[in-house]
């Protein structure tokens, strides 16, 4: 097997084909971004409203509004809406992320105009029936009970609440009390303030050039009301929280969930790209330092990762793993050791190349096909990054050097800036100093 002895040459990945994004404005003034692929049977349409948590007057208004939109319109009740969407084999997702409410549909091209007509009724004439609201609350509370029985969920909730504070839009957690408190009027208010034409973006992918598709979208947009855009009350985004170590002991002591993290910044920050690079080196891919040390060398965990989570107005950085309860102390000291090494030593050239190539592969994948590409485009548009910067963004991430990574590590990886959350270990068995 002579051929196997020689590894094939690795070809450079500097040729990243960027998607062709058509940017148009609807007759009614709504920006539309579309990536066209001819002869594609499936189409995707997403309407995005800036209507997430930072805009809420009442906690959980965004997520409950998103959920309730499809639960009945003037002409179609909840069951009829569901039956028609299912009949066309369409997948309709209406959900609130932390920053937005998105209405996303994926369906066969031939049914797109029929689906847009249903979406029009959902968005323009929702009735938010009281009975559906009560049912939703009951079901959400039941689901929350299950979620709260998972260490990983509890530890994530404690960490984000610690980083941002429990009254911050990105920091507060859902609870039975909050669900019970929300009223139909709160939902109507949120809907009326934020679901309108001047607060909307549209993203399309697939073979979406057909006249009937365009005109069904135009019809919907024409009918969406025009309203004054409500400016954000930025005082809500101030952070007032003090650092400490949060440890919660739960009933099931087989394994402890470790989450450590800190506040960072949003995507427009100048440190964003070098930080993404640093996070990849530390815990962002399979050959990362944390995975190599803690999983592949010591076998302490099934998985460990680090993640930079950027939102429209802020962001956080987190390292997460689940380990045997008596290995919590050892794991924590290994994590901090790896952070320190990145603050003291330059990342070797070979590893820099590896991460550069890994990230280049990621970019190529992000921009492979219309459905992947539109997701990447959406995230840039919402962060108000001009699409003309696309090429330079790819270049920036490829030109980051080891000194920049060291600088970012020194700036952001100081142990004292991190919250430390441990859920599932009791006082004796966690072996922490």
């Amino acid at each position: 097997m002579q051929q196997l002895r020689i590894a094939p040459n690795i070809n450079p990945l500097n040729h990243i084909i960027l998607p062709h994004v058509e940017q148009v404005v609807s007759n009614s003034g709504v920006p539309i971004y579309r990536i066209i692929k001819d002869d594609c049977e499936v189409v995707k349409c997403e309407l995005v409203f800036l209507a997430g948590r930072p805009y809420e007057s009442v906690a959980l208004a965004a997520t409950t509004t998103a959920f309730m939109l499809r639960e009945g319109s003037k002409k179609l009740n909840s069951e009829e809406i569901a039956e028609q969407l299912d009949f066309y084999g369409a997948t309709l997702n209406i959900k609130a992320s932390l920053d937005t409410i998105t209405v996303q549909v994926v369906c066969l091209k031939k049914y797109m105009t029929a689906i847009m007509d249903i979406i029009r009724q959902i968005l323009l004439e929702p009735v938010f029936p009281e009975s559906e609201l009560q049912l939703m609350k009951d079901r959400r509370v039941q689901r929350l009970k299950i979620e709260l029985a998972k260490n990983e969920v509890v530890s994530y909730r404690i960490l984000t609440e610690s980083i941002y504070g429990d009254r911050h839009p990105y920091g507060y957690n859902s609870s039975e009390l909050l669900y019970q408190a929300i009223t139909r009027q709160d939902i109507i208010d949120h809907y009326e303030r934020f679901i309108h034409r001047n607060n909307c973006f549209i993203f399309l992918a697939g073979d979406v050039r057909g006249e009937s598709i365009i005109s069904s979208i135009e019809t919907l947009l024409d009918e969406l009301p025009t309203k004054e855009k409500i400016s954000l009350d930025r005082r809500k985004l101030l952070i007032d929280s003090k650092l400490e170590r949060a440890i919660k002991t739960t009933g099931n002591p087989l394994q402890a969930s470790i989450r450590i993290g800190r506040k960072t910044f949003n995507r427009t920050h100048e440190d964003y790209y070098p930080f993404v690079f640093l996070s990849t080196v530390l815990g962002g891919y399979f050959s990362s330092r944390l995975t190599t040390n803690i999983r592949e060398e010591k076998g302490l965990t099934y998985g460990i990762y680090s993640m930079l989570d950027t939102l429209l107005y802020d962001g956080s950085f987190m390292i997460a793993t689940d380990v045997a309860t008596d290995k919590v102390g050892e794991t924590l000291s290994e994590i901090y050791k790896e952070m320190e090494i990145l603050q003291n030593d330059l990342v070797p050239d070979e590893e820099m190349d590896l991460v550069r190539n890994y990230l280049a592969g990621n970019y190529i994948n992000f921009f492979d096909g219309p459905f992947n590409s539109i997701k990447a485009i959406k995230s840039l548009v919402l962060s108000q990054i001009p699409l003309s910067d696309l090429k330079s963004l790819v270049d920036i991430s490829q030109s980051i050097n080891a000194h920049q990574v060291l600088d970012i590590a020194q700036k952001y990886l100081n142990r004292n800036d991190f919250w430390e959350v441990i859920v599932g270990a009791s006082a004796q068995d966690r072996n922490i100093d």
Binding site: L4, I10, C107, D138, L148, K150, F286, D322, N357, G369
Partner: protein, 415 residues
């Protein structure tokens, strides 16, 4: 529709190639025809443990991940009852690296005690994280043992118990590699913008000389017909009760699979499905309800699982489930409802065919069933199901004597 070409190398390796000129990525998928059903009942979890060891490096590539990441690629793997599947997604200019790595670990995987010891620990933590430390995480441990008495589907892929993983020996590992990991027992599938000629040239370069071994595989006994209903109640640290009903049905290639799949869609696929409409929205007796098929190669299961709403008993929920089952058995489903579930099935096939990795996996999956030609006939099979077929399958399989019931109850009553 996936336009593929199929080749068999002299050493028995099946190669499936699809060309998609619109992509810049390549997906390389290697399926080994070994799953947890091929395990010894005293050494369960072995197929999955072995999957982990496949990342430990091989003779010419001491580290599997580094060259692939250097090539801009990503990879992963999964194991189920029936097979073990490895996949790599890489920018097409570096597809050769992925094929070389897959060939080298098929030819000479490095097996050593140290790597085995580390991966045993990793899998034990996985066992704890996925099965023991989550509410209802051990559902499949209980359900597999309840529903299968002879067939090796009676334990889940992760293994029956942690001790089986802890006592795995290097000798067993070497035997397992010898027995199952060779060209004759593998399917290589590739979806990329390159022509089949270009792909086949690279494939031959690296795979052609890898020898195949004997085909003495451990086979599972067949599951005898279930003749009376079974039930099991588990109490544990769970927040709210849960019930699971499981009914035996034929394997994936049986003609009635499609009627059973549409039954599960009529009952629980989408917000207009019957169980959701009746039990969640009208009667409000459950907070969650689902119905799905295990879809295994041998005798599979139709699963209905639900969580009662607050202060509703499991028995009451099950009465309502039975009522819906009886409706399927006594009244023909109307044309619009049947067309609805068919439309959903057809559009979900169209959506999954958009991505190189899905397509490469699909080719390997259907080839492993022994019938790759049915891959592109799925729509027709679904379309040809009649209301009478639905009724007949409901009568034949959704019977009390063919059912196993698993109840989960909280150990401490919250009230």
């Amino acid at each position: 529709m996936i336009h593929y070409e199929k080749y068999t190398l002299d050493n028995g390796l099946t190669v499936l190639i699809e060309q998609d000129k619109t992509t810049t990525m390549a997906a390389v998928n290697v399926l080994y025809k070994v799953g947890s059903k091929n395990e010894d009942p005293d050494k369960t979890g072995f197929a999955h443990l072995f999957e982990h060891l496949m990342f430990g490096g091989s003779d010419n590539a001491p580290d599997f991940d580094t060259p692939l990441q250097m090539a801009g690629g990503e990879n992963n793997a999964f194991t189920n009852n029936d097979y073990t599947n490895f996949y790599d997604v890489v920018p097409v200019q570096n597809i050769e690296t992925a094929l070389w790595l897959e060939a080298d670990r098929m030819a000479h995987l490095t097996l050593n005690q140290e790597a085995l010891d580390v991966q045993k620990k990793v899998v034990v933590e996985e066992f704890k994280e996925v099965c023991l430390n989550k509410p209802y995480g051990d559902t499949w441990h209980h359900l597999s043992a309840l529903t299968y008495q002879k067939h090796h589907y009676q334990w889940p892929t992760i293994g029956k118990e942690i001790s089986h993983i802890e006592k795995a020996h290097l000798g067993d590992v070497a035997d397992f590699f010898q027995r199952y990991y060779h060209p004759q027992n593998a399917i290589l599938s590739i979806s990329s913008p390159l022509s089949s000629y270009e792909i086949l040239t690279i494939v031959k370069k690296y795979f052609e000389e890898i020898p195949s071994h004997s085909t003495n595989y451990l086979q599972s006994p067949a599951e005898p017909e279930q003749r009376e209903s079974r039930s099991l109640t588990v109490t544990g640290e769970i927040p709210i009760p849960m019930f699971v009903l499981a009914y035996h049905m034929p394997g994936r290639t049986h003609e009635e699979y499609y009627a059973c799949d549409l039954i599960s869609d009529i009952l629980a696929n989408g917000r207009s499905a019957r169980l959701y409409n009746r039990l969640v929205k009208e009667i409000k007796c459950v907070s969650e309800i689902d119905c799905y098929l295990t879809g295994s190669m041998d005798n599979g299961l139709i699963i209905i699982e639900g969580k009662p709403a607050e202060n509703v008993s499991i028995e009451e929920c099950i009465q309502h489930v039975w009522h819906e089952i009886q409706l399927l058995q006594t009244e023909l489903v109307d044309e619009r409802e049947l067309q609805k579930v068919k439309n959903k099935a057809v559009s979900s096939i169209a959506m999954s065919d958009l991505n190189v990795l899905n397509k490469a996996m699909s080719m390997a999956y259907f080839e492993n069933l022994g019938q790759i030609e049915i891959m592109n006939e799925q729509e027709e099979y679904y379309e040809s199901v009649t209301p009478q077929d639905i009724q007949a399958a409901a009568k034949k399989y959704l019977r009390l004597e063919n059912m196993s019931q698993l109840n989960y109850l909280p150990a401490i009553n919250p009230s």
